[in-house]
Symmetry: D2
Subunit: 334 residues, 4 copies
């Protein structure tokens, strides 16, 4: 059996997912929708998908599932729409910037028993998976401390910053999800410190560009996250897990595995500079996991609840920076 999929939104991330669908043997990209004709046409030509409206895709009998890559403020409505249409849904993170709105969508999904998978691509990175496997095999003993370093090569445009919901909801949200995945225990409290060190224009828009976060679970496990919107040496993505009988870390990916030695020392190339190159394998594995979950009728590895909880941690972080105190997750969930 093969899953027929439509991609909603043919922008940068929509193209990534279309390519991912094409790489999965038991999935077909049958339709694409985008208000920008050129974008839809590009995907249509490259992958042989027909261009349709969202309404047509909703009504289509030849579409089993949709991948939502439209602007964030449309995600929740589209989830509601397609959940009621009985179609499997893969939605890019975040479901919505508002916790209550996310919760109401998850109810619709639940009522309609639809498959909803939220796009946390990093969980599917081969190196991060090898790290997770080492933990599951007991090679570090009990997890005690998770440390995540995540720095973008450079800040996005101001327009993106303004609509992003802020660095915690836009960028740290990936690290919140990774931390939950590796702590293997729900976070109880969040402390966050934000600074504007990279670009004062980001501060002028009410956002931070440099943050540190500490989280604690009920048993005392801790996670520390450090983020910056700019790392001149490339896309810095590292994870370290410290446990009772060992530690495991995942290293960065350089542009090439070469080292040059000269009179000034030893030199390696910068890091892969763009999230799509860095996480190419992860995006493909992510869509393959979605297709597998739908076809086997099992729970997808990243659920709507995962999307909700990462947003809740972001919300707690925002409040923590405003009030200079640790914020309990319970305060946000209400």
């Amino acid at each position: 059996m093969s899953l027929n999929i439509a991609v909603l939104g043919a922008g940068r991330i929509g193209q990534v997912h279309a390519a991912a669908v094409a790489s999965v043997p038991n999935a077909n990209l049958v339709a694409v929708s985008d208000p920008v004709d050129a974008a839809a046409e590009m995907v249509s030509e490259q992958y042989g998908a027909s261009i349709r409206t969202i309404a047509d895709i909703h009504d289509a009998t030849d579409v089993d599932g949709v991948i939502i890559c439209t602007p964030t403020d449309t995600h929740a409505d589209l989830i509601d729409l397609f959940a009621r249409a009985g179609k499997a849904i893969f939605c890019e993170k975040p479901i919505d910037l508002d916790v209550a709105r996310v919760q109401s969508s998850l109810e619709v999904v639940s009522e309609n028993s639809t498959t909803l998978m939220v796009g946390f691509n990093r969980r599917f990175d081969p190196d991060f998976n090898a790290l997770k496997t080492a933990i599951e095999e007991g090679r570090v003993g009990d997890v005690e401390m998770v440390t995540i370093t995540s720095r973008d090569p450079g800040p996005p445009p101001y327009g993106y910053i303004e609509r992003s919901g802020g660095i915690f909801r836009d960028m740290t949200i990936h690290d919140f999800d990774i931390a939950r995945w590796l702590l293997d225990e729900e976070v109880e409290s969040v402390f966050a410190a934000g600074s504007v060190l990279v670009d004062s224009g980001i501060g002028a828009r009410g956002d931070f560009d440099s943050v540190n976060v500490i989280m604690k679970t009920s048993s005392g496990r801790q996670a520390a996250i450090t983020n910056s919107r700019r790392a001149v040496y490339g896309y810095d993505q590292r994870i370290e897990v410290h446990g009772s009988s060992g530690a495991v870390s995942a290293q960065n990916q350089h542009e090439a595995r070469i080292e040059l030695a000269d009179a000034s020392g030893f030199h390696r190339p910068p890091l892969m500079n763009f999230f799509m190159n860095r996480y190419t394998a992860a995006y493909a594995a992510e869509i393959a996991a979605f297709v597998d979950a739908v076809e086997s009728g099992t729970q997808p590895p990243t659920t709507g609840d995962d999307g909700l909880m990462a947003l809740v941690l972001a919300e707690a972080a925002v409040r923590s920076t405003a009030e200079a105190r640790a914020v309990n997750v319970a305060e946000i969930l209400g």
Copy 2:
């Protein structure tokens, strides 16, 4: 414009090349030929290529080029056949185990002005390319010493050994080619030492499993190669180039970029264990380069002469082990 390609031989390496053709935008896999029906059918189904005889492919007007992946002893005849048919040819190394036979095929290619590219996949590895680029940019100054470490995870079956022409023609041949590429100057003399340390069954078949080679060019540049048929930690593939103002090295690829620390120390995974995984990107880039060369009417990056010269070095190495002396390339070329 798009190049129509037929794959001759649908075994392990034929399948690799079929996949590579599928990944190149301006190439189509139109036909496949293999005496084993199941093999041909597998490629046919996966890539939509029609199953044909070699004679049909020879006569076909819809085939612009062939990729020769048949047994070694058929390579030279197929090159002659398709060169005379005016089709572009990509041939897996080696062209033949006999220097004179290679030379006669190269004459046929030359008389018919056909494109012939010989499959030295390693030249197309992204890391080795980054190393070569660093040299070309002058970052090590004048090249003085090339050091190549190349060890297989484990020895091939005895049957393979018997037909292989011996370790120098079968395994070291890749390193001979890389050395020529990096020395950027023809080799003048070859010394080789061979031992049987891995498996006495290999020795019983008149072959070595562990060898070291030293080569010298006319200006005194040197290359050292070390080979083993068995490395328990995986597929060991390293290059180091020492020059007048620096050095550059290409490192191995591990199964994952993680490190585990425990009471006994720090542990990284073994190396990628199979040449097809290790060189996936190289195989794709190699076929892309073939297609580009044919379409642009330019010289392919690895020519028939490269195939000849690597074989000549192998021949010199064989003679060197027999006579315990440095053998001049001129003795082999006659």
Copy 3:
């Protein structure tokens, strides 16, 4: 000229400093004092220092300076005593566990214009110095984020824990000092999270064994510290500084620079397991710097104020864990 030095306290750290004095060309170890005869005799015999009482050393005209290695609760009194005696003073951290007591000692030092150097050995580590030099040379641009990982091989005995003043005053205090040194700007606020994950006996004594700290300066620079009382792979001591145009890190020291590869992967030895081995070179450089400061009449590189401020940060961290909020340094300094 050569400086005559007495060591007060001939326990583990006293022996380290006695050896350091012996390694400095322009210093002599002339006297040692310890209530435990065997300890004093060992140092006396090894370095040819006479055994004396503290009162004798106080009165001695052949003693220019003292190195205080006695129990923490005697440090401040000894500083007062020897400051008034006009002798140069090197005191192991901390001066006292109480901020006000430290302040009163610093006043005595100031009134008597004595040289007081506080023992923050890590600042003198060759690798950390190379990191600091890179920052001073502008190679990372403006410092934005300092990240310090500091984990002991294993927890000290309960008796030590009970008298230590807690993990922040005993262990993190080194990292507080390193953070101040690298931020090059005073810390304004401190948030700390403490857990008991290693040994519940430590929790039973009112202490933590696993902590994370975030600090912020007035301009928004941040430092993050992660500590554990136990790392099974050795003494984990790493620093990372992220700046506007680069980043610099200092790596761990393994027992040997070898790597073993076998069927299960690649293996390096554990980290140097004991602070005295790890920081041998640092201890020698530290005492050399003390001697240089006294002989040249200049400010020592780690002053009484550095000792005070590190303790103030520890105090703020203690209060932060109790109140689950960021604590301003001004609250502690009063």
Copy 4:
């Protein structure tokens, strides 16, 4: 008991050994001899050794052993002299540049049952020792291939080159010894290739500056050595041993364990640039081993035979370059 030692020759290497003697608890440096007064005085003052003539040292009843650091052409005569005087002898490599002269000295040593240790400092390097220990523990299985990379930061003065006996007897001799140590089996044949790539002035003096060597033992084990008189990135000293169930390597030592990341990539400092810094610990351990051997009456770890055999391999390498063939060790030993 404590061994009284005299150092013959107070030049650069003599000073290194004097410092080493001072660092060994059960050894005293009692005398020093050097025709250059200033050199002898420097060692005398720093370590409290009396300045004496070689004749006085020969007759002295308070001297148990000598360390010979005089010019190479005096080594053999001094060995003969002090062997007959019944004193223990540590002699810097080489004993002599002539194999027969070495053999006659070894006979004198044998007749007088004197302890003779030859200075192959690298065997005492902590990292190389850890590598050797891993082999002895069976962690690589049977040793098959030893690969040694040894490059000096820059060539010595022409005057040194002229008296050195050539690169094989002067520089490669260390690697010949390390290869013998790690192969754990005598070498049967040697092939060497020499080039002049670094400095034509070296070629004008009849020497090479860039060499590769392959050696084979009777069971087929192989060792490959690569040498250059110039590595702009520092003193390159690496060893790699490949075996039946694994491999082990020893890495280089950089000036500091830091890494800088900037827009052009990741940068580590050059290698330690001077053999005395690089091998400080090795020199101290070497003299400690000499003292231990004398005091315990056991065979020293590097014997006169080791000195002879390394020279024989050098001799074979010289002949190999002249005749472009593998030279059997038996041809040299006669």
